[in-house]
Amino acid sequence: MGKVLELRRITKKYASVIANNEVSIEVEAGEIRAIIGENGAGKTTLAEIIYGLRRPDSGEIVINGKGRNHLTPKEAISLGIGLIRQERMLIPGMSVLENIVLGAEPVKRGGEIDWRDAKKRVKELLPLLGFSLDLAKPISSLTPGEKQLVELIKLLFRGASLLILDEPTSHLTPNEVSSFLSLIKRLKEEGKTVLFISHRLPEVLAVASRITVMRRGKVVGTISREEADEENLSHMMMGESFLPPLEKEEVTPGKVVLKLSGVTVTAEDGRLLLDNISLTLREGEIVGIASVAGNGERELALSIAGFLKPKAGEIEIGNRQANFLPPEEIKRLGVAFIPGERDEEGLILDFTLAENLILGYHRLPPYYRFPLLSIRKASQQLLDLSSRLGIVPLDLSLPLNLFSGGNRERVIIARELFHDPCLIIAENPTQGLDIAGARLVRNLLLAEQKRGAGILLISPEVEELIALSDRIVVLRRGRIVSELKAREATPKLLGRLMTGGGG
């Protein structure tokens, strides 16, 4: 059948980093090819280049024999290439059907959109996916798993034959993952070629025929499924030494730092976001919150931090009633909030490193001596703090948009942990970080636990929850459906609980 895609020495540089460094890959028609690497290895950039969302600085893309040095999404689609990625693929304000046909609308004579034909064609595709979908539903009401399927329909609707899937399973429950993997195999049987980009080795080993490993923008090598196993793949992905497993110590819990009793939070339209939540967290404890995205975990974090006021129930921090306290007050009680949307909520990218390190604490000493704010006097402390967390480059006057994602997360953590909080709400703290960065963050949280802080850990990665937490609370539709000890939890069990059994 021959090569369907060939990349020759693709190079893409950004200001401070080389995302793709002379990447050369050949993909055969009809294969499932995995591209693996840790966060920051350059996989997503490569996917975007193949699909035409980014232009490489140099190199060639050869599709079906014809070479070119860059693509546009329009050309990619017409060549049968499709891309699924995590963000920015569906428009919340439009319906499922509108999202599917956008850009490839069937038209009647006269120029009007032929909705009937569109519906017919979509319905014909559904059996392949083994799934039924209400086409008129607004996107915002779909689960991540359903959204994934809609994206797949989009690709098939346009007749895609080369499907690039960038981390398609990161927001799926364990059961959804296995159905998704079977789906990929079925697509291969239909003659599609799949580029499966992931950092999750078990999944990759389940479906791929060949595996290409990338590290720091370069291709380390390509091996066949038969030659691959988790150990050598990890080794290829990470290069040097294996990192030792996390050392979680036994810590005896102390006083209660957080107590939620019957907390209920409603949206403006009356929808229940949190339903009768009762939870206790003590000093030295890590409680993990397991849920499918959008089931109340965000609202839990926001209400404890003071951004959402509960309609019913009580929130106690320490022994103070915190229901009606403004966020600034709650901060002063010793609560640190590490928000999940790092760049949008936790940092001000146009501000300097120093200015970001004091954000939220700018009215407290040592930065504030009435009536002036003096960053200069505190600069030595800030420098020490930054170097302790390995923030690079160590320049307090550099604007934060010049720092990498991993460093930005470190800035947030440095800032929040600096004041020795008694309660830490950590939302997706290792999102998008490479292995070394994720390791650093996890160790920091464990160190905080040892120091006696109580930590509420919200994470979509169940393995991370199991590794770090003492107890795990499962949230579904805003309600606590289960609470169990971490050592009794397995990913499969949690997955079942998160989706209500049966997946």
Binding site: E75, A76, L102, I113
Partner: protein
């Protein structure tokens, strides 16, 4: 206060608002904030007089007016879309440019300050002998229906809405975001230019400096109050038109209120409506945001 003349006057007052507001709709629906409705209207008013004066035809005047409006819209478009400038700042610049540009050209072309020489008026359509209807109002009506058809029934309209909601997603589907944004802005320029033509050619038949007098901003407020929906935009514009006409008639009666009070009424009304509108108003999600390229 007889009903028929009141309705006539209301429509005359409402038409430029409706046209400008609908123009703003096209621009903002694709995500480009356009506060330069005022400037584009002013430029259109001038262009219309220019065209009508030199060619003797008011219809050509309106066309020239729309061209002037389009030219300013193009400047706004280039500044905010291609040069990625802040949409509001760019709009402010266009307004100032219109003010200065029309005054400048008024002097350079006609040799006067303040008020231009007269040009042929744009006539009304007479209905039943007693009632005059501006043809431009019919245009506004037509635009409401055609915009609804465009946005909800055609591929172009669907894509424009998508660009206004999430240009990143639109881009990932091969839609040319910049082109569609330009299209929306240019349409807004044309419509505002025509609205300006209504002002200078229908009632007055002259161009007076700063004659738009804030109507462009009231039109913008109409757009916001109407939640960016075409039918509602017309309704809100009509409401303002009626209010305006009522205020005019009130002024003629012998109330002990100064003329400035009546002149301020539309602005006071705008603030009250803007402040009081119901939450649940939803602008196009990507309004004002820049797109990442590469």
């Amino acid at each position: 206060m007889r009903l028929l003349p009141l309705i006539e006057l209301s429509l005359i007052k409402a038409t430029p608002l409706a046209l400008a507001a609908l123009g703003g709709l096209f621009s903002e629906r694709v995500g480009v904030v356009n506060i330069a409705l005022e400037g584009m209207m002013l430029a259109g008013a001038f262009g219309a007089i220019l065209g009508a004066y030199f060619t003797g035809s008011p219809i050509i005047g309106v066309i020239i007016g729309s061209a002037f409006g389009m030219a300013l819209a193009l400047i706004h478009g280039i500044t905010s879309i291609t040069l990625k400038g802040d949409h509001i700042v760019s709009g402010v610049a266009v307004n100032i440019l219109a003010l200065g540009g029309t005054g400048f050209l008024l002097y350079r072309i006609f040799g006067v300050h303040g008020t231009s020489p007269s040009a042929p008026k744009l006539g009304f359509i007479r209905i039943g002998g007693d009632f005059s209807l501006s043809p431009l109002f019919l245009l506004a009506l037509f635009l409401v229906f055609s915009s609804l058809f465009l946005f909800y029934r055609t591929p172009l309209g669907l894509r424009m809405r998508a660009v206004g909601e999430d240009p990143e997603v639109a881009r990932s589907l091969g839609i040319e975001v910049a082109k569609l944004r330009y299209l929306g802005v240019i349409i807004s320029g044309v419509l505002c230019g025509i609205a300006g033509g209504e002002l200078s050619l229908v009632d007055l038949s002259q161009f007076v400096e700063r004659m738009t007098g804030g109507r462009g901003f009231i039109a913008l407020a109409c757009l916001i109050i109407a939640s960016w929906r075409p039918g509602r935009v017309l309704a809100v514009a009509l409401f303002f038109g009626v209010a305006d006409a009522l205020a005019d008639s009130l002024q003629l009666t012998n109330l002990p209120l100064p003329s400035e009070f009546f002149l301020s009424l539309p602005f006071i009304l705008t603030i009250i409506l803007l402040a009081g509108f119901v939450p649940g108003v939803r602008p196009p999600a990507s309004l004002g945001k820049q797109i990442r390229e590469d």
